[in-house]
């Protein structure tokens, strides 16, 4: 049977990645029949109505899912299509209460026009009462118009579809997790919508263990916890973990009633991780700092020949004192990405997922290559474009060792030995020199 997923027309490159991840999560065979970045309507084949409802119920970028009764490029064609494709379904809905609605993309219909459209479906043998609320079934006329149709004086949609509403997504939870209403946030907190999408793409779910090694204020942890995972996080900046007084990551979990989903948060540097090398996590997700503001830092001294000895102040080993702050040195963003891939390889369970955000310029000269690892298969690359730069969400699947090709030896990138943050970090360099505006 054919079903229609009605997406939001935003974050376009994330939509299919999210719905395909949910199909994997739910164990549903999903076949995409037609999909375009320019349209919110995605036609798919699914095993059942039940599977269709389950597929979209925790989606953030889908709005709803429908059973397709007919589709064509004109209304005349649509009526023929409905008679040919779905006449066998009509008797099932002869007596139920129902509602008709119109969903117009890139066009508009006045209430009077909508009523006229709906009346044209009077050939359907529906005898039940029409209700605006508390109806048994909703039938929707989905219209797609070409972009800017009004300006071109176009009178008709380019495609029309009649579909029966089956279920809605989890899009309404975006408001619940709105950063404006969250207790503990910072300027680098990922917004609720993209945090939840990231958690979906990484397959967060009940009983699973998730880890964010750059947890910050815990945006991803909260999103994973919402979907039922036990969320762990660490950060090299202790101030992020501790927060201020009672305002910290734990306060966010408490605010949303997610305390049973709080794993832990601790202060640590991924390049000197205290986590033992074992398959501990079902998912790893992060937005590593790429140093637009302060440059990426790891533990160590800028001058590697210094600081090899314990420092004593007033007869006490300085590092055991309350006020000791270990020195940090600049680190290459590319080297960190490699470290994340290595870490994910030994920490993820088979088929567990790694997702991370990375910046990329809107200019191919400043393009940062997508890092690769023989034990990790790229499952999706999504791009969010801003004016002067873009960022990508890259997701990998941990391939079971038995499927990793033996000859696949990773191209080892020599770790840069530079001192200046700009030399180490191609993105930061581009950002401060000013990326060329797209085609302008």
């Amino acid at each position: 049977m054919e079903y229609m997923i009605r997406f939001t027309q935003s974050h376009e490159t994330f939509r299919l990645a999210e719905i395909e991840a949910l199909a994997v999560f739910e164990g549903i065979k999903l076949e995409v029949i037609s999909y375009s970045l320019d349209s919110p309507f995605c036609l798919v084949k699914l095993p059942s109505e039940e599977a269709a409802i389950r597929l979209v119920r925790r989606s953030i970028l889908a709005k709803s899912v429908y059973e397709v009764w007919g589709k064509a490029s004109t209304y005349e064609g649509l009526f023929d299509s409905i008679r040919a494709e779905s006449q066998h379904l009509w008797p099932l809905y002869e007596t139920c209460s129902f509602k008709f609605s119109v969903d117009t993309f890139q066009g508009s219909r006045t209430p009077a026009e909508q009523r006229n459209l709906i009346e044209r479906f009077g050939f359907l043998p529906f005898e039940g009462p029409i209700k605006m609320k508390g109806f048994d079934q909703e039938f929707c006329i989905l219209e797609e118009w070409v972009h800017d149709s009004a300006a071109f004086g176009i009178q008709d949609p380019q495609s029309v579809c009649l579909a029966r509403y089956l279920g809605s997504s989890a899009r309404d939870i975006i408001a619940k997790y709105d950063l404006k209403k969250r207790k503990y946030i910072s300027t680098t907190s990922m917004d609720a919508e993209l945090s939840l999408v990231t958690a979906n793409i990484t397959l967060a779910g009940p009983g699973k263990l998730f880890y964010d090694p750059f947890v910050g204020t815990g945006s991803f942890s909260v999103a994973c916890a919402h979907f039922g995972a036990l969320a762990f996080g660490s950060d090299i900046d202790g101030r992020n973990i501790r927060g201020k007084g009672k305002v910290n990551i734990l306060a966010n979990f408490d605010q949303y009633g997610l305390m049973p989903q709080f794993g832990d948060s601790f202060v640590a540097d991924l390049t000197n991780t205290p986590l033992r090398a074992a398959r501990l996590f079902d998912g790893i997700l992060c937005d590593p700092p790429y140093g637009v503001r302060e440059g990426l830092k790891v533990l160590g001294s800028r001058d590697p020949t210094k600081g090899r000895e314990v420092v004593y102040l007033n007869g006490k080993a300085h590092h055991t004192e309350e006020d000791y702050i270990p020195p940090k040195r600049p680190y290459s963003f590319l080297a960190m990405l490699d470290d994340i891939l290595d870490f994910a390889t030994f920490s993820l369970v088979d088929n567990g997922r790694l997702s991370f955000w990375m910046p990329t310029a809107n200019d191919e000269n400043q393009e940062i290559q997508v890092p690769q690892h023989p034990c990790l298969e790229i499952t999706s690359i999504c791009t969010q474009t801003f004016n002067r730069w873009s960022r990508r969400l890259i997701t990998y699947r941990r391939i079971p060792d038995s499927e990793v090709p033996a000859e696949a030896i990773r191209e080892q990138r020599a770790k840069e030995q530079g001192i200046s943050a700009d030399d180490l970090n191609p993105f930061r360099k581009g950002y401060f020199k000013g990326f060329k505006l797209n085609g302008k």
């Binding site: 009940p206 660490s234 049973p260 601790f266 074992a278």
Partner: protein
């Protein structure tokens, strides 16, 4: 910090990682706190194969918890043993260290825990 997390952690010093003495870290002068959390069988069964059982036994005995079985139960054994299920839920997920330190038996470095948050940043001479 939860005792589950302690089972996932070793000394952060690179040269310690290859030695068996660096895991588990040993709690020292620790204050324990216990929450009441709803138990989740799916979560506990998922955690089970990721535990290092002998390290967990060490931690439990060092903190004065009743002895654990000598080897990790299978999922089926845990399903059938309500008391063990409850004990493990309490030990791993409800019990956490609020203050104290964790000591590596190999290098002797001590990681502080304050207000439930452990700090694994290494002093410069150990990086």
């Amino acid at each position: 910090m939860k005792l589950l997390t302690l089972n996932f952690l070793t000394c952060a010093v690179k040269s310690c990682k290859s030695t068996s003495a660096s895991f588990p870290l040993h709690p020292k002068d620790c204050e324990l706190v216990s929450d009441t959390l709803k138990s989740d069988p799916k979560l506990l069964f998922n955690i089970l194969p990721r535990l290092d059982w002998s390290a967990l036994s060490t931690t439990a005995s060092e903190l004065g918890f009743p002895g654990l079985p000598p080897s990790a139960p299978t999922k089926e054994e845990l399903e059938a043993n309500e008391k063990l299920f409850h004990d493990l839920h309490t030990l791993l997920l409800e019990t956490h260290i609020s203050e104290g330190s964790l000591v590596c038996a190999n290098c002797g470095h001590s990681y502080k825990i304050k207000e439930g948050i452990a700090n694994f940043l290494l002093p410069n001479h150990l990086v």
